[in-house]
Amino acid sequence: MVLGNLASLVYFLPELAVTATILLLVVLHVVLKNRRSPAAALLALLGTGTALLFAWMTPSGAGMGLFEGMVLLDGFAVFFKVLTALATAIVIFMSIDCAELAERTQAEYYIFLLSVLLGMFLLSSASDIVMVYLALELVSIPSYLLAGYFKGKGSSTEASMKYVVYGATASGVMIYGFSLLYGMTGSTQISEIGRVLAMGAAPLPASLAAGMVTVGFGYKIAAVPFHMWSPDVYEGAPTPVTAFLSVGPKAAGFAVLVRFFYTVFASPEDAGGIWKLSSSVDWTFLFAVLSAMTMTVGNLLAVNQKNVKRLLAYSSIAHAGYMLMGFVLLTAVGLQAILFYLVVYLFMNLGAFYVVVLVANGCRSEDISDFSGLGSRAPVAAVSLAIFLFALTGIPPFSGFIGKVYLFAEVIHRGVYWLALVAALNSVVSLYYYARIVKVMFLEDPTQSGELPVAFVPRVMLGILVVPTLLLGIYWEPVIRVAEASVRILTN
């Protein structure tokens, strides 16, 4: 079913809520005249909360084309809307008590944040290559601004600059790929492109287009070799922004990657997963290599980091590599595994960054050595961080383990054993550097004296992040059911 512009608005409430909030924030920004005020954060939180609620309640039966088919509303899109809105809400929360941002948390900061959210909403539901491109840029441009939010700080400026240059290049390559697709099929609708390609396309341009699109999306999810920007950006950006970039846009990137490739390059009858794009290129193998490279490079580079933020940045590259395992075969079960992993990743990664923010508030540094003795200085924060880190490693009974089990299971099921083995060995490597932070916190004596108090509200927030990280490791049936339902709409 394809709806016209006006009829679509009813189904567009989450996006409208975000847009309205952005506009209100603009007004607020003018009224406040660069003064700091809690009102901006509250307004942003309220807007995000409303959007989350609307997204949650969206009727997501069969896929529905909105705005003459530019945007597709289905369970898959709803899943990602809820996920990204949740991430944004948590990040707004994180920003409120971040000392690093204290000087500059003005309304404009939240305007950028919510613009990214709007872009992510559109990205996860775009069904037209023009829309995909617009949404991608809507995610990217405010992200560049956020990464360079400290105008005076060198690393922040560098981050922003790198981000822009890499981003522009990736976009350029991707749009070239889009134009090839349009040239071959005469349509901008991704379902139509997929249908025409399925009737038999010239293998070379199709492969070329697929490769170019992969560059664009690969950049967004920071897959190796398109990852070069991310460590510097992640280090230079304010910590809440880093947390945001490593979860939100990455999830949206996966959403569009999955939807695009699934619709354009896989046909329903081989939902079993054979890529039929071009017989001369083994796409499964290619993506398996991409996945293996991403996790290995990310992990190996993380090993020697002395800065926690940078370490988490590299490790988040590795996590994108794990998630790509679910993408290698383009099967429904593999996609489910990605969705599930994104949910647990949201909690554990945001949680880890949240503790970094809390610690940095106290000692103004993110060096691993400044975490020493945290176990005795701030036991709640330290234990939470340990839980997040072990979850990221993938050790039961934490949720990260279950996420990995699903990803491993799919590649093993389909016989890509070497990839599972690479991923397993990577888990061992990742333990080495995650455990180093734990070691510093619990096994070493504090270098700085005094307690590091964690106020009541951050404690609650930590609890909100820790509980799912633990609980989903013990009972995760409901979440996998939701992931299953979200994917089913896409794959039918």
């Binding site: 039961p396 397993a424 455990a435 070691k439 049936e477």
Partner: protein, 509 residues
Amino acid sequence: MDFINSHILTLMTFLPVAGGAIILMMPSGRDNPIKTIAAVASFLPVLLAVQLWFLYDRTVAGVNVASQFQFVEHYTWIPSINVEYFMGADGISMPMIMLTTIVSFLAVVGSWGIEKQIKGYMTLILLLETGMMGVFASLDFFLFYVFWEVMLLPMYFLIGIWGGPRREYAAIKFFLYTLLGSVLMLLVMLALYFNTTNPETGGHTFNMLHYMQQATHNAWLKGFDIRILMFLGLFIGFAIKVPLFPFHTWLPDAHVEAPTAISVILAGILLKMGTYGLMRISFPIFPDVTKWFVIPMAVLGAINIVYGALCAMAQSDLKKLVAYSSISHMGFCLLGMAALTPAGMIGAAFQMFSHGMITSMLFFLVGVIYDRAHHRDIDGFGGLGAVVPVYTFFITVAFFASLGLPGFSGFIAEAMVFLGSFGVFRTIVMISASGIIIVAAFHLWALQRIFLGPLNPKYAQLEEINAREIFCLAPLALMTLFLGVYPMPVLNLMSASLNHLVDVVKMVI
């Protein structure tokens, strides 16, 4: 009572961690209540183990027959991928479950002297007990794996926070080694899951007992080279835990740095998980590969026995000596299992139980002397026999038990292993037997250097072993002696199952 009897394994598994949760909620600094709660939480499983002992029917085998398992608890956990909460006991797990409760309780009591962060320590040790109990009681591979891994975290912290000077290195080495083994196990588990079908429902399954019915395996899994790879994946996972040469290097480090009670648990229970895993999982699921693999396993066992003993002989640190002698003794388990005869298999299982008690004693005793002298250098003592006669008595008992003197359980175990394996591979057994001489030699030599000869005047005032320490040692010493004279109580417990296990492996062509 009915409730207790029908959920006895669950209770035994989760009572300790429940105690840990209570401790966690208490304000820190109140050491005595914390210790009491920990002792109670680990003593209740001992009582339940006694109950288990009386209820257990020794005539049924279990192993691969679901209906013959006892104290079974079977619930669905995650229906979408058929993960089950499936606990049960048979003759393979029974001795290990009993051993776990006893050694854990004694380890908690033996930790009375810990002063640093007692709250965290006790919580972790109780969590550790839950993990170990779970491993020995689960019959669902997924559940087994979760418990197997759960154990790693407390162990890492217990060594890393409360250990000796090189504790950080030892803790991370232990963690990395075991995780490496576990991830291999995880891959094999998933491959098994996708290539077997539950005969009742037709879906995939994590149920170990289904895996043991070879008919559930699909064509891919029947390929022999595939089976060898999967067996090896599991084998490395288990071998790291045992630890078998060449995967043993984490053990001396971990032992030397770990606090006394943790060394006790490590040697007394943790190492047995490796051999238990082989008996419970590898052998019955891959009987054909097992038979193909017996010679390499026997050779590895022999290497462990001789090499471990030689290493032990070269140590000047008493704790390292005991650690290497553990490596040597665990070699007997592998040798006995590899023989695939009832006597060898029972000898191996009995060695697991017996070594659990003896080595616990040894590590307690090393801890006692370290507490007083603050070093463990064998040559740094001398003539202590006259100063601390009671302590000398206990350590002599433990040493004699460890070197396999008749009258102690270790002798029975080793004799059975040799008995069971001699007819199968003579040369290997004869080489292994030389290990016994080396073991005897270094034990006696150590005894002589520490307790006999001229008195080292530095230790003329050495404090005698106290009542609490005797409380930890006496039950173990008595059991070792008793089982050395009359091993039937434990042998009866396991013989039906192990005989059946041998049949299961042997029957397959």
